[in-house]
C-alpha cells in the first residue's frame, strides 16, 4: 500500500483502481465504517470523561479580587482588568458617583473586545457592531446571541472587589 501516487504512465483512473491487489491503497467501505465507529467511540469516551470531571470538580470558585479603588476612575471612565483568570479580560465602568458595573470584555458573538462608548452610553463591539446595554449587559443590536457575562462587584471600604460572575442562563 502506497500513500502517494507514484509517477505512472497509466491513466489516473487505472492507478486508482488497480488490478493488482498489492497496489490498492484506498480504504474500503468496511475499513471506513470501522474508522467511523472507533472515532465516534473515542469522542463519546472523551465527552463522558469531561462530564465526569466537571461533576467531580463542581462549580468553579470565584476568588474575591480587588479590581480598583473607588475613586480611581471618574464618572464615565473605564478600567480594564482580568477576572477570574489572567486571560479573562473584563471592563469596569463608573456610570454614576456611586454606580459601578463590570462585564466580561469578550463579545458573545465572536469574542472581539467590547469597549465603552461614553456618547452613546453603551458597550460596543467594533467587529460586527454588536451593542450591549450598560445597565445589565443585554444585547441592544447586532449579531451577539447572549448578554455579556456580568462581574458581580462589592464595595469594601474604598476598594471595588469582584466576587463572582453572573452568566446568562442560556450561555
Amino acid at each position: 500500500m502506497k500513500l502517494f501516487r507514484r509517477s505512472s504512465a497509466e491513466a489516473l483512473w487505472r492507478d486508482e483502481f488497480p488490478i493488482h491487489a498489492a497496489d490498492e491503497r484506498y480504504v474500503n467501505r468496511r475499513q471506513f465504517t470501522k474508522f467511523l465507529v472507533l472515532t465516534s467511540l473515542a469522542m463519546f469516551a472523551g465527552n463522558v470523561w469531561i462530564l465526569v470531571r466537571s461533576w467531580l470538580r463542581g462549580t468553579p470558585a470565584f476568588p474575591a479580587t480587588v479590581v480598583a479603588r473607588a475613586d480611581e476612575i471618574g464618572i464615565g471612565g473605564v478600567k480594564l482588568f482580568s477576572y477570574p483568570l489572567p486571560h479573562d479580560n473584563c471592563i469596569l465602568i463608573r456610570t454614576g458617583p456611586e454606580n459601578y458595573v463590570a462585564y466580561s470584555q469578550k463579545c458573545t458573538h465572536l469574542s472581539c473586545a467590547v469597549y465603552y462608548s461614553q456618547t452613546a452610553n453603551r458597550l460596543e463591539c467594533p467587529c460586527h457592531e454588536g451593542y450591549f446595554s450598560v445597565k445589565d449587559g443585554s444585547v441592544l443590536q447586532g449579531p451577539p446571541p447572549r448578554p455579556l457575562p456580568r462581574v458581580i462587584l462589592e464595595r469594601r471600604g474604598e476598594d471595588l472587589v469582584a466576587v463572582g460572575m453572573e452568566v446568562h442562563p442560556e450561555g
Partner: protein, 192 residues
C-alpha cells in the same frame, strides 16, 4: 509449492469429469464447479478439453470490471470477484477470451477458478490436478513436464489481434510457440 506450475493438456483429457466433481466439493464454493469440461466437436468426436482459469498476466476480466471487484494477488492468481463489490453485471463473463468466469445468479456474484487459492497458498496442489487420472491437469515443476511430456508448454495466446499471456500453461505440439484462436470462426460454427 514454489516453482510449481499448472499445465493443461487437452489431448490427455478423457472426459471423466473427476475434476468437476472434485472442484464442486470444495467448501468455499460447494455445489458450484469452477472448472468446465467441454466437448470440442460433439458430432464427430469424443474429444474433451478441461478449462480452468488461465490467470492472465493482464486479465481482461479485471480490465472490464466496472466495480473494481476482480483483483490479482502478488503470486499471479486472479481471484474470484470480491463479494462486497461485485454487482453481477457479467461483463467479465462476456469479456474473458477463455470463457472462464461464471456469474452465479443465486449468489449474485461472479466466481471463477482461483487455482484453489486456499490449497495452493498453503502448499497443496489444486484439487482438479490432484484427482485428474490422466494428468491432463497437472500441477508440477517445469522440469517434470519437460522430462515426461513430448508436447511443449506455451502461455501465449492470440485471440484475433489480442495477445494474451497467462500464468497457466497449455501443452501444444512441439513445433508451435503459441495458440491462435479465431473467435469469429468458432462463433460461426456454433450458429450453424
Amino acid at each position: 509449492m514454489f516453482g510449481y506450475e499448472f499445465y493443461i493438456d487437452p489431448s490427455r483429457c478423457i472426459g471423466c469429469e473427476a475434476c468437476i466433481n472434485a472442484c464442486e466439493e470444495c467448501e468455499t464454493h460447494r455445489g458450484h464447479p469452477m472448472i468446465t469440461v467441454d466437448f470440442l466437436d460433439r458430432h464427430n468426436s469424443i474429444a474433451t478439453v478441461p478449462m480452468v482459469c488461465m490467470h492472465c498476466d493482464n486479465p481482461t476480466c479485471a480490465q472490464v470490471c466496472p466495480a473494481d471487484a476482480i483483483k490479482k494477488t502478488e503470486d499471479g492468481v486472479v481471484q474470484s470477484s470480491l463479494k462486497p463489490r461485485c454487482i453481477a453485471c457479467s461483463n467479465c463473463v462476456l469479456a474473458c477470451p477463455f470463457g472462464v468466469p461464471k456469474m452465479l445468479a443465486d449468489l449474485e456474484q461472479m466466481m471463477k477458478c482461483d487455482m484453489c487459492y486456499d490449497r495452493t497458498s498453503a502448499g497443496k496442489r489444486p484439487m482438479c490436478a490432484t484427482v485428474c487420472p490422466s494428468q491432463a491437469l497437472a500441477y508440477v515443476t517445469p522440469e517434470t513436464i519437460s522430462r515426461e511430456r513430448r508436447d511443449k508448454p506455451t502461455n501465449v495466446f492470440y485471440f484475433g489481434k489480442q495477445k494474451v499471456t497467462t500464468k497457466v500453461w497449455m501443452m501444444v505440439p512441439p513445433e508451435r510457440d503459441s495458440v491462435s484462436v479465431d473467435v469469429a470462426d468458432y462463433m460461426w460454427e456454433k450458429s450453424s
